[in-house]
Each structure stands twice: as C-alpha cells, then as structure tokens.
Symmetry: C2
Subunit: 387 residues, 2 copies
C-alpha cells in the first residue's frame, strides 16, 4: 500500500425527507444564492421542498447552470455574488450544478482572472461556504473538492481541486431521483462506475481492502441499475445507487493505491469537441482503453473479470476479453451507446482531439504516465467502432 493523507469533512444527510435538514445545516443569517440548472427541480418538487425548509432565510436564485457548466455562465453568478454580498451558496442539482457552484465559490473572492483557478487551483486562498442538495447520483462532487469547468470560447473542459471547495454539507434524498429521465440515470451510473474503475483497474499494490470496496461499489451499481429502469420509484435501489455514486468518488477508495484518470480526461475531449454527454463519453472510451492497456492492467483486469463479472475462464486473455465485453454490454443495457461512430465522429476528427490533449498538457496519462498522445490516438481510433 502507498502512503496517503485523507480527510473528508463533508457532512452527509442521507434519506427520505432530509431536505428539511437545511434549516439546521445553513447558518441562520446566511445570505444565500441558490444555484440550479434548467428547472427540473421545479417540476419534481425539490424546489418547493428547499424553499419550504429555508423559510425565513434571505434566498436569491441563479438558474441555468448547464451540463458541463461553463465559465461564461458561471461568471454571471460571480457578478451577482459580488454585487449582492452573498455569503452562502446552495447548489441544488447534479454534478454540473455542484461543480459550477464550487467555481463560483472560489471565483467570487478571487482578485485575478477566475479562469486561472481552473488552470492553477493553487492560487485560491478563500472560497464561499457551499451546501448541496443532490438530485443526480453520478459525479460524486457532493463529497469531494473537485470540479470540472468548461470554457465555451476555447472548447476547454478542465478540472480543479481545492480543500476550500469541499461542501460543508450535502443532502442526498433518493426520492429526488425518481423523476430523472432514464438517460440521466444511465449517464450517472456510467460516471460512478468509471470513477471506480479508474481507481481500481491499475496495477496491484497489495491493497485488498481498497480493492474489495471498489468491487463492492461496482457490484452494487451492476445489481441495482436494472431495478431503477424497471421501477423508477424503487426507493432502496435509488438509495443504493446514490450512496454508491458518492462513495465512488469521495477519495476513500483511492487512498493508498495508484489511479488512472485517462478515461475521464479523454472523455472530456469528446464532450468539449462534439458535445457528447459526459456519461456517454466514458462508455465510449473505457472499453477501448481497457482493451489497449490490457498488458499494464493485466492482473487487476483478471481480478475484475473474476470478482465483478464472475468469469471463471482459466485463460487470462479470455477472462479480460469477456470482462471488457461485459462492461460494454452493461453500459448498453442502460441505453448508452459505446462507439464513437454512433455519434457521427470519424477518423478524420481524431487529430483535432489529439491537438487539444496536447494543448492541455495531457501527454502522459494513465497510472504510469504511459498513455502518450500516440496511445491516446490509438484509443480514440479503437473507440470509433469498438470490439
């Protein structure tokens, strides 16, 4: 096991009816900016629950934070925070709203050009306090200090992390996810699944407990996913997926082990270039990445095949092939397409993706830094038609 330092201060309120806890969790005199997305929270009753819990508070609103939250949109909120002297941000939504709110929290008190926060998070010295009401299990942003922000102008999609943007609390009520469109449910499950594989499918460092926690999350997602498509108001299945998605990226399972964020980083390029959904981008990249990186990941891939997919083949190559096939089939069972060609992308567009990776300094990805631009191009090419 590798050395590590771990501290996660986020308070989680989990379960039915927990939105009421807002009145305990938010400081009484807070001047709140409530941030949200396209308004689905008004249709599903979450908005009303939040407003009811916050009766007596000074609450202003900022709506319209889009999937892949953009610098351009978020800077409009930064202006409001500064002008209105907002001192508490309440994000109500999924990973995009929470990530965007983390950027607002860091950008509002920032003296320089806030995009610098994304390219160099070290420059942050303060941030507004954040609370979250999560409505989409996916990103894990509700219990970590990372955020992914896009810049429309330059087609960039980049991440930053800083302890100052940990939410103070996050409320997870599985009932808020009943009304998610199936596509969003599916994208969220893929996102959480890939967060786990990125911390698990690397090389062995003798970390049996981290491995079993990772496998536990993957098995939970695999077993619970079909239930919510069959019955969207299956409380326990929604709850299990929600908690699994949070634990998939709250740092715990990556303590002491190597990590490989290449699937996310290559996926971000697909989203930035072609507007492919985040979850879809991961479902496209992961099978090809595992296929092409099978040698450096061999021992963990065999373990994944055996423990997660119950594959008993004695031949390791067969184990790995089957595990990749089953991974792709799982994503497709959720209604997610897994080939880049399904989105109208062809080989001629790959140089553009490679150029963008180069511009972002992403020239040595993977747990050993061995995924250079050439290997990234191979992964993109393989992902066009998959196996």
């Amino acid at each position: 096991m590798k050395n590590f330092t771990y501290c996660n201060p986020v308070k989680i309120y989990f379960g039915e009816g927990q939105i009421e806890a807002l009145k305990d969790a938010v400081p009484k005199k807070a001047k709140i900016l409530m941030t949200y997305g396209g308004g689905s929270i008004k249709a599903n009753g979450v908005y009303d629950q939040v407003m009811s819990a916050l009766q007596g508070y000074d609450v202003q609103e900022f709506s319209g934070i889009e999937p892949n939250p953009s610098y351009e949109t978020l800077m409009r909120a930064v202006v409001i925070v500064r002008e209105q002297k907002i001192d508490f941000l309440l994000a109500v939504g999924g990973g995009s709203v929470i990530d965007g709110t983390k950027f607002i929290a860091a950008a509002a008190p920032y003296k320089g050009e806030p995009w610098d926060i994304v390219t160099s998070s070290a420059s942050i010295s303060k941030a507004l306090p954040i609370g979250c009401v999560l409505t989409i299990p996916a990103a894990g942003s509700e219990m970590n200090c990372g955020a992914v922000i896009s810049k429309k102008e330059t087609h960039d999609k980049l991440s930053f992390m800083h302890p100052l943007v940990y939410p103070q609390f996050s409320i997870l009520d599985p009932k808020t996810t009943y009304s998610l469109p199936p596509k969003q449910t599916a994208n969220g499950i893929v996102d959480a699944f890939v967060h786990v594989t990125e911390q698990y499918l690397t090389y062995p460092v003798n970390s049996p407990l981290q491995d079993r926690m990772a496998e536990g999350i993957l098995l939970t997602l695999i077993e619970e996913a079909p239930k919510v498509f069959q019955q969207p108001d299956d409380y326990d299945a929604r709850a299990n997926i929600m908690w699994a998605a949070t634990l998939a990226l709250n740092d715990l399972i990556q303590m002491g082990v190597p990590t490989d964020w290449a699937t996310h980083l290559l996926g971000h390029e697909l989203t930035a270039a072609f507007g492919i959904d985040h979850g879809e981008s991961l479902a496209i990249i992961l099978p090809s990445l595992l296929h092409l990186e099978r040698e450096p990941k061999r021992e963990k891939l065999v373990q994944y095949a055996r423990r997660v997919w119950g594959i008993n083949a004695s031949d390791e190559k067969e184990c790995i092939d089957l595990a990749i096939t089953k991974t792709r089939a799982f994503f497709e069972s959720l209604g997610i397409k897994t080939r880049l060609s399904d989105f109208g992308v062809d080989e001629l567009q790959i140089p553009r993706l490679i150029e963008s990776l180069k511009r972002h300094g992403m020239t040595s990805l993977g747990e050993r830094g061995s995924i250079n631009l050439e290997r990234s191009a191979m992964i993109f090419r393989d992902a066009l038609f998959g196996a």
Copy 2:
C-alpha cells in the same frame, strides 16, 4: 436503507515515516501533554520519533494509561492539564490510550464530576483538541468519537461518544506495529473483526454496499492475519490490518443499517469482572451470541457463511453452524481462547454479571433490543464451554 447523518472530520496520515507529519499537524504554539501507556513506545522507537518530530514544541508527558483505561488514572492527568494549562493532547498508543485521552480532553474543562461524562455525554460543551499516533490496530478510536472508560472502584466499564472528542488527526504508521507482542496483535484483530460483525450480522435492510464493505474488512483481516504471525515485519500485511481496523469503526459501514453492540457490551462485563482482555472477551461472547441469536440473524448469517467463509452448503442451519465454527477457529488460530471456562469462570459467577448488566441499564441489547437479561445469561452460560 435507513436514513443517516454522517460526518467524520478526522485527518489520517497513513504510512511509513508519517510520524514526521506531527510538525505540520500540531499547532506551533501548542502546550502539549503527550499521553501513553506502559512504555513500549520507548522500546520500539516510537517515543523517539515523536519527540524528534516535536522538537521546539513545549511537550509534557503523562504515562501509565493502562489497558481498560481507568477513571482513577485519567483523573491524575486531568489535574496536570488544569494546573499546567495544557492546550493540546497527543495520544501515542492504542485504543486504551486514545480512549483515555478523549476522557481527559472532555474532563479537563468540565465543571462537574467528570465521571458524569461517561454516564451522560450530553453534558459536554467543550474539549481539548486531540491528536493521535496509533500503535495498535484494534479499537478504531483513532477515527471515531467514542471512548470506553473503566472505574476500578465500582468495576464499571462504560462508553461515551461526543463529536467534540474526534481526534483532529491520527497518524498510522504500520511499522509501529512490528514489535507488538503476538497476543496484542491477535486481540486487535479480534476487536476489529467483531466491530464489523456488530454492524453487519443483524437483519437485512437492503444495503448491498454496506454489506460488501463489511465483508471486505472481514476478508482482509482473515487473509492478512496469518501473514503477520509468520512475519511480523510484513509491511503490507501490517498496513492492510491497520487500515481495516480503522475502517471497521469509523462509522462508515454502519451508515443506514441496524447495529448490535451486544458482543461488546457483554464482553465489557467479563473484562470488568474478571480482567479478561478486551479481545478475548469478544472472542468468548461472539460465537455463543451468534449461536443463540441465529434465528433473528438468520439471513445475514447465511450471507456471512457464503461470502466470508465460502461455505456452499445448501442447508441454512449447516451454513450457520459452519460459519460459527470457522469464526471460532479463526480466533483460536490467532492464539485466543474462546471459552469462558478457559479463564476459570464457572456458572456460579454468571448472576454477578447479570446483576452488573442490570445496574448498567443493559436490559435490552441487540439490533432489536431483544437480548434481555435472561438471554444474556443464556449467552454467558453457553460461552462457558462453547460448541
């Protein structure tokens, strides 16, 4: 899954050489009382590492915190804290030292009779900050806010919990455990194992992820334990046991599920009455408790048999019998005796244990409160000679 609230603010520094982090973790101007036990930290070099990291700090010492830390001993430290205006406590040791230090932290600023903290923790409104250097993986106290304190005068062994006594940080260097006597290593493994069974072997509430995390900890302990007896300086095995013991009782795996602390509570009576080691007391109680509570715990016991012990018998009774036998055999493989009669206790002494349980108000234990005094007596009687 049940509703829950979760927040664990403890910062963990894990791995070889992390004792050096003390100089970052302890406030520069702190007036420190370093608390420890019988002096093994002087023999194994931990004392020197701590003192070296704390060069330039004002450090006083309080040694002699015994296993099952006593009110009587700890109150001597409380006097020192008050007289010397100590403002930071550094616990260096295992669960007893850390538990005792939590009591000191709460008792020093307490206006009334400090034993009241143990019988009614609600009365605490402040506590000194605590840091820990863990040297025995066992209790989990390094990452939770609970403590178990004994009172010699009355033969009481009772626990209290309060968020104010979470350590600010805990340093876990697996190398500090190389020199543990085999008996202490074994007791610690049993303690961690039973912490998990108490959060796992109850009744099902559809919580597959919590179950798999619990099973992951149990399997890690079962697989890694023999390695450290064979080779006490096996770094990875020591590290895996250390991290497993911390995660066994840092609250995470009990979120959303029922818990049954009866094994610990009955075990405490054995320690208070007969001086039986804490780990031993658990190894004595657990097999008999599982045997007698097999019906209310049936579904989880069968799952435990299959997933943790790989028992494939189709008959549920046979599964459960085998799982209990294997549990006992695991404890005995560590050199731990598992029958109360092994410690010279006979049936005539059971009424005294029951009287003490009654005095402590422990008349309805277990996940459903169904272990009354009569059932506790049955468990003690069964534990005399086991199965």
